[in-house]
């Protein structure tokens, strides 16, 4: 249908301003796996702590961040607290 994402672009497209995003562009296997996991988490609607850290570092540098456990609780409550949209 539409052109598949170019390989080198994946990191940028997933907004993974991750320390190892550059590795990914060069083909770092581990970083690639991490990006794939992040994409899966997003598809399945799971909390993505690494992504949150990246967002916090970019947008609110210097402010304290949540622990993984606290972030999990907050993200789940946000998504399902009101029931969460889903279809028949």
């Amino acid at each position: 249908m539409t052109a598949a994402p170019r390989k080198g672009d994946t990191a940028a497209m997933l907004h993974m301003d991750h320390p190892s995003a550059e590795d990914a562009a060069q083909g770092g296997l581990r970083a690639r796996a991490r990006i794939l996991c992040s994409a899966c988490r997003q598809v399945f609607g799971m909390p993505d702590y690494e992504r949150y850290l990246a967002h916090a570092a970019e947008r609110h540098p210097g402010t304290p961040v949540l622990t993984r456990g606290d972030y999990f609780v907050q993200a789940i409550e946000r998504k399902y607290g009101t029931g969460g949209a889903r279809c028949c």
């Binding site: 598809v43 399945f44 909390p47 967002h55 947008r59 946000r78 998504k79 399902y80 969460g84 949209a85």
Partner: protein
């Protein structure tokens, strides 16, 4: 180069599609291969996507890639998150695909494979995908607002409130009908019930793991959850064959209904991390995995379609649901062709995650095409079954009796030759004691899937496993929907009660919470219970009520889209939404009015209610009721169904009048009157 590919590729797809349709249309008298059906569908999707959705994006909506989306402007890392196009496509698809596209097509298969296929394909291109795409567009241009809020903004406060009440009513009916599908699938099936029951402790375990043992490690918990789930399917067989355990997991319909009502009340009151979230993950894995497996299985096994292209039941005398092809086919297959519920998703989380306006076409239009493909596969799986088996599974006991012998005789008389031995053998193959009268879609689809996947992997001996895998997959996401839907319903009820007495609207206030949950569960529980115990009710009644409601919601969403197009001064292209709106209004209003007023008691709620209340007044008991009290209950339930159906009809007519008024005003205005966030403000909007 691209141009050359395009010039060669699209005619090629068109030719393949034409061949596939020719095979479907000309293969009379002999069985058609299901691969043709699936290929025809895919060709339609590709061509519709490439040309029609591009036309809508470029000409009708004038999607603007340079205009910042809500996700970009508000990027808060929580709700508003710019998301990769492909990832969001998967996310959106997982949110819209539920049990709907699996149940409707299976029920509609009683008319043959062709009517259902044609409606799914035409419906999705003309109506379903257009609705999803344009609602998404309208919401993105309004900061990701919900359908109710947008109707309030563009059509006025009264239509906004009306729409909310309508959504709640549809929600209640959906929850009842989904729960009924589970009841039908699990009645007298210890193997099935055990595996479904096992998902509760598995989910609790996962929840506690993610919360306390390894906080936030969702992946690890999901991995062992899936393993335990598969183990539970094998254990289910052991339980079903064990003389002491099997009776514990063999429940009757009413018992299961009570169990589900209790489950709904408790599950919706638990913290979300404990059961809802982990179960939702499991169900999403299974959902996507099963859909992919089914697609691969159909292409690999290439089964023949045993169901004829059309059956005699297009005349309205079918055993699965009564009523003629027009209008009832069009409300029986809702999801897969057009589903009003999608307008809630397309104006829910997805618009807040769109990274660029140019992605909306792929996610909105393309996402719906994928759901439609699921519907086509469900229809295929049902039509691969021997028609005799199909009718044995889907016709009510009142028609075919309760033994394999009586069922085989009745069904053979319809012209679908089948022996009692074949019915019993099919039950044995899937590890069940009986397959008779399991209407509701899930078991039929599961048998079809078991036969397809069994041929691909594991042979006959694995069919029972695949059957229970398919039942698990459907029941799992239905139970998740019951849990989540009850919560959504509770919030809506509390919101409404809050207008009457303020403290009841407080979602932090426990008594108000319990009241809201209790009301919601009570409402859907009532419809579920009547569906289980009423010998004439059940899927036959509830699914059509749901179909009318769901299509009415689609009509309302499309009325909003139409009004917005007119207000944007794009009336030249208004046919894009007006055409599906008109078709939905015609079919659903006809169906709604027939369901209420038709003089045939098999179709009309009032006719059936009158027949039973008159007989009860004279003291005669009509079969299949067994007592006067039961007769009165049948009559009351049918009056109630007529009221609900009437409410949907009145609602959509009212919305239609409001929309026409707004459109006429907008036509007179000199300038566009749609309330979009202006591009300049959008560009200047500072990131949060």
């Amino acid at each position: 180069m691209n141009k050359l590919v395009s010039v060669l590729l699209w005619p090629a797809i068109a030719v393949i599609g034409a061949f596939a349709f020719a095979a479907l249309a000309l293969g009379r008298g002999e069985s058609v291969n299901s691969v043709w059906l699936v290929t025809a569908a895919l060709s339609v999707y590709f061509i519709a996507y490439r040309f029609y959705s591009k036309f809508i994006a470029d000409k009708v909506l004038r999607v603007d890639a340079s205009r910042p989306t809500p996700a970009v402007r508000h990027n808060d890392g929580l709700d508003y998150v710019p998301t990769n196009k492909w990832v969001l496509y998967g996310h959106h698809f997982a949110a819209i695909a539920g049990a709907g596209p699996l149940v409707g097509p299976v029920l509609a298969a009683q008319m043959g494979f062709l009517p259902g296929t044609l409606w799914i394909l035409v419906g999705v291109v003309i109506a379903g995908a257009v609705q999803d795409f344009i609602v998404l567009f309208v919401s993105v241009r309004r900061d990701g607002k919900s359908l109710g809020e947008m109707i309030k903004m563009e059509l006025g406060p009264i239509p906004g409130s009306l729409a909310l009440v309508g959504v709640l009513a549809i929600m209640i009916i959906i929850l009842a009908v989904l729960a009924l599908v589970v009841v039908k699938a699990l009645t007298g099936s210890p193997w099935g019930l055990f595996t479904i029951f096992a998902t509760i402790p598995i989910a609790l375990l996962m929840g506690c793991y993610m919360r306390f043992i390894r906080p936030g490690r969702v992946g690890e918990a999901s991995a062992f959850g899936v393993v335990l789930l598969l183990v539970s399917i094998f254990l289910g067989r052991v339980v079903a064959e064990d003389p002491t355990w099997a009776p514990l997991f063999t429940l009757s319909g009413p018992q299961l209904a009570w169990a589900l009502i209790l489950y709904g009340a408790v599950a919706a009151s638990l913290p979300v991390w404990l059961m809802l979230a982990p179960r939702d993950y499991l169900s999403t894995f299974l959902k996507i995995g099963t859909i992919v497996a089914l697609a691969l299985g159909i292409y690999y096994v290439a089964p023949l379609l045993a169901m004829p292209a059309t059956t005699r039941f297009i005349d309205g005398t079918g055993p699965v649901f009564s009523g003629k092809l027009f209008p009832f086919l069009f409300i029986t297959i809702a999801c897969g062709a057009v589903s009003g519920f999608h307008s809630l998703i397309s104006s829910g989380t997805t618009p807040k995650m769109i990274e660029n306006e140019s992605h909306m076409r792929f996610i909105g239009f393309g996402g719906m095409l994928a759901e439609s493909f699921v519907a086509v596969m469900a229809l295929t799986a049902a039509c691969v079954l021997d028609p005799g088996i199909y009718f044995a599974m889907n016709a009510p006991a009142a028609v075919i009796g309760t033994t394999a012998e009586s069922a085989a005789q009745v069904i053979s008389n319809w012209g679908f030759t089948i022996t009692p031995e074949m019915i019993n053998q099919t039950a044995r193959d899937i590890g069940e004691t009986s397959i008779l009268s399991r209407a509701g879609g899930a078991p039929t689809l599961a048998v079809g899937m078991a036969q397809i996947l069994g041929q691909a992997l594991g042979g006959k001996s694995m069919e029972a496993f695949w059957y229970h895998f398919a039942i698990l997959f459907e029941a799992l996401f239905i139970l998740t929907a019951v849990d989540a839907g009850t919560r959504v319903g509770r919030f809506m009820i509390q919101d409404m009660l809050g207008h009457v007495y303020k403290p009841l609207g407080n979602t932090e206030y426990l008594p108000a919470n319990l009241l809201g949950t209790g009301l919601c569960v009570g409402l859907w529980g009532y419809f579920l219970y009547q569906g289980v115990v009423d010998p004439l009710g059940g899927i036959n009644t509830l699914w059509q009520l749901f179909g009318v409601g769901n299509q009415m919601l689609a009509g309302i969403a499309l009325l909003l889209c139409t009004s917005v197009l007119v207000k944007m001064k794009r009336q030249r292209y208004v046919w894009v939404t007006l055409l599906p709106t008109a078709w939905l209004l015609i079919t659903t209003l006809t169906a709604g009015v027939q369901k209420i007023f038709d003089s045939d008691p098999k179709i009309g709620f009032l006719a059936l209610a009158r027949k039973f209340s008159d007989a009860a007044a004279q003291g005669t008991v009509l079969a299949p009721a067994k007592s006067i009290a039961e007769m009165q209950r049948v009559a009351f339930n049918n009056y109630l169904d007529a009221v609900v159906c009437g409410f949907f009809v009145v609602l959509v007519v009212a919305m239609c009048i409001f929309a026409v008024k707004i459109c006429l005003q907008a036509l007179k205005a000199a300038n566009p009157t749609a309330q979009e966030i202006p591009p300049l403000a959008a560009a200047q909007g500072s990131p949060a």
